[in-house]
């Protein structure tokens, strides 16, 4: 109480509580940061942690399946592990890793100093983190989810040894969903409203375009899954009958809602990587992105068409021939804009002067592997053929080629590419290249055999398989591959440590890059741009460095032109939004609500108080 009266008497009102100051260092500064770059780093590090956990789960799965009738895990443990592997990789790795890039790069690429709502941004991160920890706490509080990542009812609500895992699933994804929804509002607003003067939509870097599509998808997809998750929660915890067939509920309703979210989700996972590749390829080909407008519009087309294909996950459910035909056709045609992208990337490389630095290798890895996943995706749309392939390892092969060969390779490319932007140092190229090649080989050794296993009839989600059915050999191969991947990740981690200890700063524009974030120093100063840049061209930074003559040949721009942007050293440092505790406090309330449902209502009551305090402090705190 004393602080309140004190503060009110001081001239600048600073809110009812003591605020963290910008000068604070160490852990407190990270807990209270509202800087989009730091939040991006937090997102990135957290998702890499979860990546290691999800990867370890994958190794357990592969150990169990290395031999027929595996004994490494019990049936229940196996079901928990494969469920958590899926949940982790999708919701706690690839989605937040995308968010890490959105956070760090969008303001830089559009020439802004921060996102539209910096504190909301911090709230998104903490909510995501707490949501992830909440889901993982299930291991110690009665059992992890064991319903598979799509958690079909009524198995999830009544057909398992314990349904406590389903509660953690429903509540945990609800919490991480809040994080995504809030973040999407933030990024959509940022991209639409905060672009630097001169940066029209068609001068935005392609990564920003893809981010815009992803965040619109999130904005519309998260509410769908939120409703579905609430219904699942009510069925499981309170005995409602949304999906309970015995009481007139419809189990297929869950599938419709899940996949109505789930298919756009696929694009939420892959489009950020596509955006990254669209930045990396031009830089290392020293040519502009081929067919910029086609690439942008194919992304938008995917965004729209992605809403009309969900039932291709349900061809065997028995929706009838009319629905199956309609969704077969829509699924076939969504391959067209995806193909357009691949052709345009090829067009970008065509006639270039390709430099095979690590980011470029990962981007090419992305294109080659994603093409395989895309083509097997087209085979799924041939419904009668899919009747044979669905729910087998053929599908598992497909989505790993899309989400690992695609998303993870693309995101890795981005990590290597923008690492200097974040740290001021280039990751070691030798280690980076061995990381790439070993991962590429390990990836194919692991997942190519899944095509064969699937066609040979190996079903998904089997905790064991009998001997002598033709599954032994390829499962063994796949397990070996998984450990090769693990080894490549080890090299990646070593690279990070090595780079921090041994590498020298690399300067401000190590790749001879194209977009304006490379016009400012590495690592990025906390205010980003000393002076908000004025954008004249697509790939504005490139055009400051080079111009084209009439024949399309590149000539260096007049000396000194490129310095123009950074030549205003005498300016005072810009005033930045101040750090705040409140996003952290408000986010901490959400898992408490979750425990309130699962363990004891008291937790929920505490959560309500925490949330009220958080929102009160937040609302009363002046922005500046």
């Amino acid at each position: 109480m004393a602080t309140i009266t004190e503060d009110i008497t001081t001239p600048a009102y600073d809110g009812p509580f003591r605020r963290p100051t910008e000068t604070q260092k160490g852990i407190v500064s990270w807990l209270t940061t509202v800087d989009h770059k730091r939040i991006g780093i937090l997102y990135g590090c957290t998702s890499l942690m979860f990546f290691l956990i999800g990867g370890s789960e994958a190794l357990l799965i592969r150990l169990q399946l290395a031999h027929p009738n595996g004994h490494v895990l019990s049936a229940e443990q196996y079901n928990q592990i494969f469920t958590m592997h899926g949940i982790t990789m999708i919701f706690l790795v690839v989605m937040p890793l995308g968010a890490a890039f959105f956070n760090y790069l969008i303001p830089l690429m559009i020439g802004a100093r921060d996102v539209a709502f910096p504190r909301l941004n911090a709230f998104s991160y903490w909510t995501f983190l707490f949501g992830g920890l909440f889901i993982y706490s299930s291991f110690f509080l009665g059992g992890a989810p064991q319903c598979g990542w799509f958690c079909y009812a009524p198995l999830s609500t009544m057909g398992l040894p314990t349904t406590i895992g389903t509660l953690f699933y429903a509540l945990g994804l609800q919490i991480t969903g809040v994080a995504s929804l809030v973040a999407s509002v933030n990024f959509v607003t940022t991209i639409i409203n905060m672009r630097a003067p001169g940066m029209s939509f068609f001068k935005m870097p392609m990564f920003v375009w893809m981010s815009l599509v992803v965040n619109f998808l999130l904005l519309f997809a998260m509410p769908v899954i939120a409703v579905a998750l609430f219904e699942l929660l009510f069925d499981t915890a309170f005995g409602t009958n949304f999906f309970n067939p015995a009481q007139g509920g419809d189990p297929v309703l869950w599938q419709h809602m899940f996949w109505l979210f789930g298919h756009p989700e696929v694009y939420i996972l892959i489009l950020p990587a596509m955006g990254i590749v669209s930045e990396v390829l031009p830089t290392f080909s020293r040519k502009p992105l081929f067919g910029y407008t086609f690439v942008a519009f194919s992304g938008v087309a995917i965004g729209f068409m992605g809403w009309g294909v969900w039932a291709h996950h349900m061809f065997a459910v028995g929706l009838g021939p009319i629905a199956n035909s309609a969704f077969a056709i829509s699924t076939m045609f969504i391959a067209v804009p995806t193909g357009v992208k691949i052709f345009n990337w090829l067009g970008t490389m065509w006639g270039g002067k390709l430099r095979f630095s690590t980011p470029m290798l990962f981007s090419i890895g992305f294109i080659t592997m994603f093409t395989i996943g895309g083509l097997s995706g087209v085979t799924h749309s041939i419904v009668p053929s899919d009747y044979q392939q669905t729910d087998t390892y053929y599908i598992v092969a497909h989505f790993h080629y899309v989400l690992f060969g695609g998303a993870i390779f693309g995101l890795m490319s981005g990590i290597y590419y923008w690492y200097p932007k974040v740290t001021g140092k280039l990751l070691n190229e030798k280690l980076g290249k061995s990381h790439f090649w070993i991962m590429l080989i390990g990836f194919n050794v692991t997942f190519a055999p899944f095509h064969i296993l699937g066609l040979q009839g190996m079903a998904r989600r089997y905790y064991r398989y009998p001997a002598h059915e033709g599954f032994d050999f390829w499962n063994m191969v796949s397990t070996i591959g998984a450990f090769i991947i693990a080894f490549s990740i080890l090299i990646f981690l070593i690279n990070i440590v090595w780079t921090h200890l041994k590498e020298q700063p690399c300067g401000d524009d190590p790749w001879d890059a194209r977009t304006i974030e490379w016009s400012i120093p590495n690592p990025t100063p906390h205010y980003n741009y000393l002076e908000i840049p004025v954008v004249h061209e697509r790939d504005d930074w490139w055009h400051k460095k080079y111009t084209e003559d009439e024949q399309g040949n590149l000539v260096p721009a007049l000396a000194g032109a490129s310095e123009e942007a950074t030549a205003h050293d005498e300016h005072a440092e810009p005033h930045m939004p101040r750090p705040s505790y409140w996003p952290l406090v408000a986010a901490a309330a959400l898992p408490l609500f979750g425990y309130g449902v699962i363990i004891q209502w008291v937790f929920g009551a505490v959560g309500a108080v925490v949330l009220l305090v958080g929102i009160y402090g937040w609302a009363m705190e002046p922005v500046e």
Binding site: E76, G318, G351, K353, L354, Y387, Y463, N553, L554
Partner: protein
């Protein structure tokens, strides 16, 4: 860049091996038998070849670009700056679209033809539950009296079969790869699946929708017989039990009827009329039991009756010794009884 070329070669080899290996794979989708699986396989072949062609073209172009357009050492000049080519863009939008459009026709017509009920089909009801299959053969042409059977589906060759699928608990999926693609089995709905076997033999199948703890242990087999063999089999199944003749068997029957077994299992011709577990009237006529994962023999039966959930995680059949209080002697007798139920 050699490793990449080697990789492509390795992938091609994998593809070839896949076809070769499938010979020993009883669940393979690449060895269809019967008209339905063949139709589906035919479409797979079309789209697979198409995909391989596109794969080779695209990946070939990428590999070509990698070699052809790599920066030579010391060359710091910039390439010609091309921004796009509208005519090219329109071409590679339209051509794939046309290619895909040609696929829609066979796809849609096949979807409809597979869904139609074939003329003169034998109707069989399939009920899925965690983790076994129950078949009911209603009275119809070729079947004089309705009867029930579990896990092993007998069908006459050359006659289309129309399965009516329903689930008693969660969602399962019925799949016999050699005969037809899968059909999910959803509680509160009746889905249909057509199958047809061209010649006598045993076709393996399995549940392919994740259905809980023993999802991996919910297998099945289809035994196709000549029409006369099938008629003989069906007539036998429709009868009541064969009374045990040996003293041990008779003791086993008494034990069975005195035990909880009666509450869960039906043996036609006795007081046992339970509906929780499989009909055991002719259990010894089956090659396997418990969702097709154990061969029907004395050793496996002993294990099963001693502790079913230990053999099959989550099984709804209680542990014989620990829960039902069976003695060694009881189990011996029960086995003798069960083995006589041809």
């Amino acid at each position: 860049m050699k490793p990449r070329a080697r990789l492509v070669a390795a992938l091609a080899c994998l593809g070839l091996l896949a076809v070769g290996c499938a010979k020993q794979a009883p669940l393979s989708t690449l060895h269809p038998e019967g008209p339905i699986a063949r139709t589906e396989y035919g479409l797979w072949n079309v789209v697979f070849i198409l995909a391989v062609v596109v794969f080779v073209l695209v990946e070939g172009a990428i590999v070509f670009a990698i070699f052809r357009f790599r920066r030579r050492k010391g060359d710091d000049s910039a390439p010609k700056q091309t921004h796009g080519n509208t005519r090219l863009e329109i071409t590679w939008t339209i051509v794939p679209a046309i290619l895909l459009a040609t696929l829609t026709f066979p796809t849609v017509t096949t979807i409809f033809s597979l869904a139609r009920a074939p003329k003169g089909a034998m109707q069989i009801q399939v009920q899925a539950q965690q983790w076994w299959w129950k078949y009911t053969y209603p009275k119809q042409k070729g079947i004089t009296k309705q009867f029930t059977n579990a896990n092993e589906l007998h069908i006459p060759v050359g006659r289309p079969i129309r399965l009516a699928l329903n689930s008693a608990d969660v969602i399962h999926s019925y799949w016999v790869p050699a005969l037809a693609g899968k059909q999910d089995v959803v509680p509160s709905r009746t889905n249909h699946l057509n199958i047809e076997a061209p010649h006598p033999g045993t076709y393996l199948g399995t549940c392919v929708e994740f259905c809980g703890l023993s999802h991996a242990n919910m297998r099945l087999r289809v035994i196709a017989q000549t029409p006369s063999d099938f008629a003989k089999w069906a007539a036998g199944q429709a009868q009541n039990l064969h009374m045990p003749t040996s003293a041990l068997g008779q003791k086993g029957m008494k034990t069975f009827l005195a035990q909880q077994c009666v509450g869960c299992h039906t043996i036609r011709g006795t007081a046992a009329a339970g509906n929780v577990g499989p009909d055991l009237t002719h259990v010894a006529s089956r090659e396997t039991f418990a969702g097709g994962i154990f061969d029907f023999n004395t050793r496996n039966l002993r294990k099963w009756l001693t502790d079913a959930p230990a053999e099959k995680p989550g099984s709804k059949m209680p542990a014989g010794v620990a829960t039902m209080g069976l003695s060694k002697g009881d189990i011996q007798a029960l086995i003798a009884f069960l083995e006589g139920l041809h």
